[in-house]
Symmetry: C2
């Protein structure tokens, strides 16, 4: 690594005079921002900054740009691919002091927020308005991080991903300029879609300092249910038919038999050890009842073993608590283990094939890996459990993940449906995008010629 | 203009050997591709090319890049802002020989097509599949052009714009490289969203040679209806409530009293000369009936004068024929006139205010301008009628349009909701985007340093 460390060039002194106590060099703070939720080794930044305003972020970036010091944005640190690890040192910008709701416009169904606000905190603020923000990646992530990684989750089949739910952004660029992308209008044809370019850019093109989000009406009624299928192919066929009929599923999740076993053991329940679908409809009372009934008919046509559904909130909460706890249930199935979570996404017609091939690979390996995912999007995760003290297991899990990615690309899919590139998928960008990856690098060089924004991530290396 | 004309440098000779008769220099062909649907003066290209393959497009661009000859993509020539006028000369690339459906995957609800295929031709191909492509800008435009201009129209409130319905693209870049953006997976978090960057780039970053589109299930049932409101504020309030309740309107259009007068005179019908809403619901039979009934209640709460709705196809067709004919009905209200069509889009909470201010401006002017639009998106059009032989009227119409744009920007909106920038809105990009417009220029220079792709459009001038 040829880059100068931040300490060497006086940038930290200048930053200290800008931020005072809000520039932290404490070991515990550096350690806290040197870890990820995943299997990557600890990599400490040189400092952690806690700005409170866009102006401070712009000044911080200007100072770092002059000194050539890397700047890495940090939301809640819940990303799974090491996006926010400062692998070339520099300053981690922690947005936990920028968490305000700036402008709630219920009539427009939009809200402008600071990037450190989490999705749960936003929905708490929205509770009395009849509106909600639907994107739900599981973790209570910061909205800025969710935009930067193009997050999605269980509700994307109905409400879309962050791509669809970010209307506008304020962004601090690598040279300290502050731009606003988009407007509060619901659509625009006015030039390059800089909003979409920034969403998913993982902090390599700019730091998001404000987001304007699209809100949705809280559904009048919700029906939810669960059913078992004899095999994955039958479950996927039922979902395909349901989508083609235009039934607007709000969530449609699957768990494989191994995942069902872990989940039901954790919940102390007893269910058939088969692939299951968990689903939810949002709408008027009459609509959600009709939709659940129609889904039941379709599921029956595909050999489903019954379909239990309910409009009662307590039943629904129990169902989704089970789904949201799946990750912990799986971890609990092997005490002391850590997880490498795969994230491929394929065309739905190839989903059963991709899942079955992954299951066969896992069955032939020494590590276990229950599978769960978002069947309406063709996106699934194998939670590969490894002993963190055993490098051979980690290598085996990585090899399994790599194999799944190569298969996804061959099937017309992508290496990452929702977790992003970070460190874990960087090695697949050339295979996935071909010359398109070079184009990403050309855009990066145009907007960040000194390569100070999250260097070493997302684009082809050039420094 | 310092740029060499294509004739001067032998590029046309090389192109001729590549394309033979499919490079046209005929006066009638140049004239046909030197006009637009709008008020811009004729500007002839040097040649018109009719490629048949991606490979030919790539060779054509390579030849033009070497010679510094402008390359301008052309779909059906139905854009309203002069996007495809070769204002610096060069070669217009007409995609009318690239109209094939390449890969229809009903189970994935995707289709890959060539860029010259029109949306109506695609839907004709899809008829027996139970699927359809919903984006409907009115004109039977080519899908490549619809993507390049980020088109939308009457169904965007339910199905989204081209931004939401293009999954992947094949694009020929300014140096002849061919890239594929996106995949057939329904979502991805794998790097910069080059698909979204190309959608709406108006031919300045690349030429689209293939599109993978998201399809939707043909609705089982459709209900449609119309109702009059005492004023625009009441109509907009009814729509806001309807959206917040989560009723999924498939179309929600408004016409002002002047537009209603023109439309009803043209159709030989008799309706109150008041603002009207026209709407449509898509879903199951029970759902669309319930939705229409609920909308009727909401409309009644806002003073609507009755609400006639129907699930009969003939009633629906008559209703939307009336809406689709509105442009011609308005033109017919002043024989011999041409139209300058405005296209602002504002947050819905400001829509009534923007429409009423536009009406007041038009009332104080000498030209007439009935108003119609997509109320669910906050997007509306004044069809300003001018005598093409009268430069003062054109100047007055332009001044009215400019005033509406400045007002839209002040209200948090955009200069163009769906027609795009082209020549007509270029003058507002700096005001709308600030430094963001400079960023667009930086991206353009990175990807097209010789400025050969649709030069003089969209980004700040630099050559």
């Amino acid at each position: 690594m040829t880059r100068q460390r931040a300490q060497d060039d006086g940038a930290l002194t200048t930053l200290k005079s800008l931020l005072g106590q809000r520039l932290s060099l404490s070991k515990s703070d550096l350690a806290l921002h040197g870890r990820s939720e995943s299997y990557f080794p600890e990599t400490l930044p040189d400092a952690v900054a806690y700005p409170e305003t866009t102006e401070e972020v712009a000044q911080l970036v200007t100072i770092c740009a002059e000194a050539g010091v890397p700047v890495v944005a940090w939301g809640t640190g819940t990303s799974l691919e090491g996006h926010s690890l400062a692998t070339q040192g520099g300053v981690v910008v922690d947005f936990s002091r920028m968490t305000r709701v700036l402008d709630l416009r219920a009539e427009d169904m939009t809200v402008s927020v600071q990037p450190g606000l989490t999705r749960e905190a936003l929905n708490e603020e929205l509770r009395a308005t009849g509106l909600f923000f639907p994107v739900d990646p599981g973790a209570n992530a910061a909205l800025g991080g969710m935009a930067a990684t193009r997050a999605s989750g269980t509700t994307a089949v109905r409400y879309g991903t962050m791509r669809n739910n970010v209307l506008a952004l304020e962004v601090v660029l690598a040279d300290g300029r502050v731009i606003r992308t988009g407007s509060r209008a619901r659509k625009s044809a006015a030039g390059f879609d800089l909003t979409a370019l920034m969403v998913g850019s993982e902090g390599t093109l700019g730091l998001i300092t404000e987001l304007t989000l699209r809100l949705h009406g809280q559904p009048e009624a919700i029906s939810a249910g669960v059913c078992a299928f004899p095999d994955m192919g039958a479950a996927v066929a039922a979902v395909t038919d349901t989508i083609q009929m235009g039934l607007p599923m709000a969530r449609i999740e699957f768990v494989d038999a191994a995942c069902a076993a872990a989940v039901y053991a954790y919940a102390g329940m007893d269910f058939p050890l088969l692939p299951h679908l968990l689903l939810e409809f949002h709408g008027t009372e009459a609509a959600v009842a009709e939709q659940a009934r129609l889904f039941g008919e379709i599921a029956g046509d595909h050999g489903a073993l019954g379909f239990d559904w309910s409009v009662k909130p307590e039943d629904r909460k129990a169902l989704w608590a089970m789904r949201h706890n799946a990750y912990y249930a799986i971890l609990a199935s092997r005490p002391g283990a850590r997880a490498l979570v795969t994230d491929i996404c394929v065309p739905i017609s190839r989903l059963a094939e991709a899942v079955e091939a992954a299951q066969a690979d896992i069955a032939a390996a020494s590590v276990s890996g229950p599978i769960l995912g978002h069947v309406g999007d063709g996106n699934f995760h194998a939670v590969l459990l490894v002993d963190p003290e055993n490098p051979e297991e980690l290598a085996e899990a990585k090899a399994l993940s790599d194999r799944m990615v190569r298969r996804a690309l061959a099937l017309g899919g992508t290496s990452t449906g929702e977790h992003g590139v970070g460190l874990g998928k960087l090695g697949f960008m050339a295979a996935e995008h071909g010359d398109g990856w070079a184009v990403m690098g050309e855009i990066k060089r145009a907007l960040d010629p000194k390569n100070i924004l999250n260097p070493g991530k997302l684009v082809p290396p050039w420094q």
